[in-house]
């Protein structure tokens, strides 16, 4: 990995003074952070520290829950323009396809592999029917899945292994041409080998997308992260560069302090 490149990179996402609460109880407090395309950010923290809520603030999914309240600033660079996603009138559907999300467990629809990609492409992008198969193929290749599934595109999606399902979820996002990828513990339900495959995929995508991943595993953060943000009680308490993460003494401190 090269030297630290933050200086000559421009951020693609800026979060400032973010507060998120549910029914009056604050989950995130005064959270400030920047994210960059090409610099994979991993958010670490105990369960309950607000990791998932933070990701869901970025695609406004918190609003699907009753009593949610969001204050502060989230600016995202979408299609080359800075958009204040809570202030500007960005249609929610447009925002959510530009800011794609992968959940802890792969949630595929009980339809065929190809349809899992084709349905959102058709509904959200409204691509003409003729263009859909090539888009599906492109997305599956992008998610390193094409080789494994090209002979059984019409098979039900749940016949895939856990790791393949999670990569299919990623392919489903990529087919919608997102710019920011939010990954909520994407390997939590996978075995080690499948996790490595997903990580490999993420590393290959990070130069073209802004990737923000939540992880519960320090070793995964060390393999993936260009930058790690430590979240505790709804605030970022520490930022670590890749070099910091590799240093053996940081590891020990982190283990003691955070987990």
């Amino acid at each position: 990995m090269g030297p630290k490149e933050t200086d000559n990179l421009e951020p693609t996402a800026r979060v400032a003074g973010l507060y998120v609460g549910f029914a009056g109880r604050g989950v995130l407090h005064d959270l400030t952070a920047e994210f960059y395309r090409g610099r994979l950010a991993v958010i670490l923290g105990r369960s309950g520290s607000g990791k998932t809520t933070f990701l869901r603030a970025l695609n406004r999914l918190n609003e699907c829950f009753p009593g949610s309240e969001t204050r502060g600033l989230i600016n995202l660079k979408l299609q080359g323009e800075w958009r204040d996603i809570y202030g500007d009138i960005v249609p929610l559907t447009e925002l959510r396809r530009r800011v794609g999300m992968v959940f802890q467990t792969p949630h595929l629809l009980p339809i065929s592999i190809a349809s899992n990609l084709a349905l959102p492409v058709k509904l959200v992008l409204g691509l003409p029917r003729g263009e859909i198969p090539s888009r599906v193929e492109w997305a599956l290749k992008e998610a390193h899945l094409w080789e494994e599934v090209q002979d059984r595109l019409d098979a039900p999606a749940h016949t895939l292994s856990g790791g393949q399902q999670q990569r299919l979820c990623l392919a489903r996002l990529l087919a919608l041409e997102p710019e920011i990828l939010l990954l909520d513990e994407p390997t939590a339900s996978l075995d080690f080998r499948s996790s490595l495959k997903v990580e490999e995929l993420l590393l290959s995508l990070k130069d073209r997308y802004t990737i923000i991943a939540v992880s519960h595993s320090l070793s995964q953060a060390r393999r993936l992260a260009d930058e790690a943000l430590i979240l505790r009680d709804g605030s970022i308490v520490q930022r670590l560069s890749r070099e910091d993460l590799q240093a053996p003494d940081t590891l020990q401190t982190l283990l003691d302090e955070i987990f």
Partner: protein, 296 residues
């Protein structure tokens, strides 16, 4: 000690299953033994030639064919009224309603579920009396009125089953469609409803079964012992449950009583067929959904 309790619980569960199955078997056996030997064309058409009876050219006396047709039409008509309304209400309760609206509406549904069918029949009867005195002096009890009252009677099953099925979908799964940029309507139609399909079907089956067997409602709203094939939805009609009741209560000979058992068996078969039909529809629907090829 714990092992003993567990063994006892196991034995009780087995016993419960055996008793239930035994009761069903006994019931079917009894009905079969009494009713099966009446199965012939006379049971359905009396002395009328079958083809003329089916096409309605000649009236049927002492046969249950008009009652079979009446029941099928009645069930279809009330399903047509109740299913869209029940599904829509269930969706509203599960997806859109919140706060005090939701609790008021739920209370109303529970109240409706608690209304005895004879009261629903009386409601229909009173409604016709009211209409005769006010808007429509010509109004009379009829197939449509029965269907409306039956629809009201089965509505709570549909609403509650639809609501429960939708609310049982796990939290993250409801977010997936939205997280991909579906609008709420697309999420409902393409993700939530198909996932809830099986539960909704159970509601439909319950409702259809209830509509087919109910006697009290139709008794007061338009069913008669002899009307022939239903001429229209504003006319009197015959129906199997009432036919069974009538034959059992007023039987003048062994033969007529046996005909009652035959009719009961037919009603059972008819309801079974409706269930199978609903199941078949649902499985075809979910199969097309499974292998959705329309877009690829």
């Amino acid at each position: 000690m714990i092992k003993g309790i567990s063994c006892l619980a196991k034995a009780c569960s087995w016993l419960a299953v055996v008793v239930t199955l035994g009761a069903v078997m006994l019931f079917l056996g009894f009905l079969g033994a009494k009713g099966l030997n009446t199965f012939n064309l006379t049971l359905f058409f009396g002395q009328t030639p079958p083809w003329e009876a089916i096409t309605g050219h000649l009236p049927v006396w002492h046969g249950i064919w008009p009652a079979c047709v009446g029941t099928v039409v009645l069930v279809l008509l009330s399903s047509l009224l109740a299913i869209p309304l029940g599904l829509a209400s269930g969706i509203y309760l599960a997806q859109y309603a919140s706060g005090s609206w939701k609790s008021w509406f739920s209370l109303a549904v529970e109240l409706l579920a608690g209304i005895p069918s004879i009261v629903m029949g009386l409601f229909g009867f009173a409604l016709i009396l009211f209409l005769r005195k006010t808007l429509a002096p010509q109004a009379n009890t009829c197939l449509l009125l029965s269907a409306v009252c039956l629809a009201l009677l089965v509505l709570p099953y549909l609403i509650v089953m639809t609501q429960t099925a939708l609310e049982a979908i796990p939290g993250e799964l409801r977010l997936v469609g939205l997280s991909l940029g579906f609008n709420p309507w697309q999420n409902l139609v393409h993700v939530l409803l198909p996932l809830a399909g099986r539960g909704i079907l159970s509601g439909v089956i319950l409702a259809v079964g209830r509509a087919a067997e109910d006697t009290a409602v139709i008794l007061l709203t338009g069913v008669v012992a002899n009307a022939g094939l239903p001429a229209g939805i504003l006319d009197k009609y015959e129906a199997l449950p009432f036919q069974i009741f009538y034959l059992a209560a007023e039987a003048r000979s062994e033969g007529e009583l046996a005909q009652g058992f035959g009719a009961a068996l037919i009603l059972l078969i008819l309801t079974g067929a409706l269930f199978l039909g609903a199941y078949y529809l649902q499985s075809t629907f979910s199969r097309t959904w499974d292998q959705k090829k329309l877009i690829i």
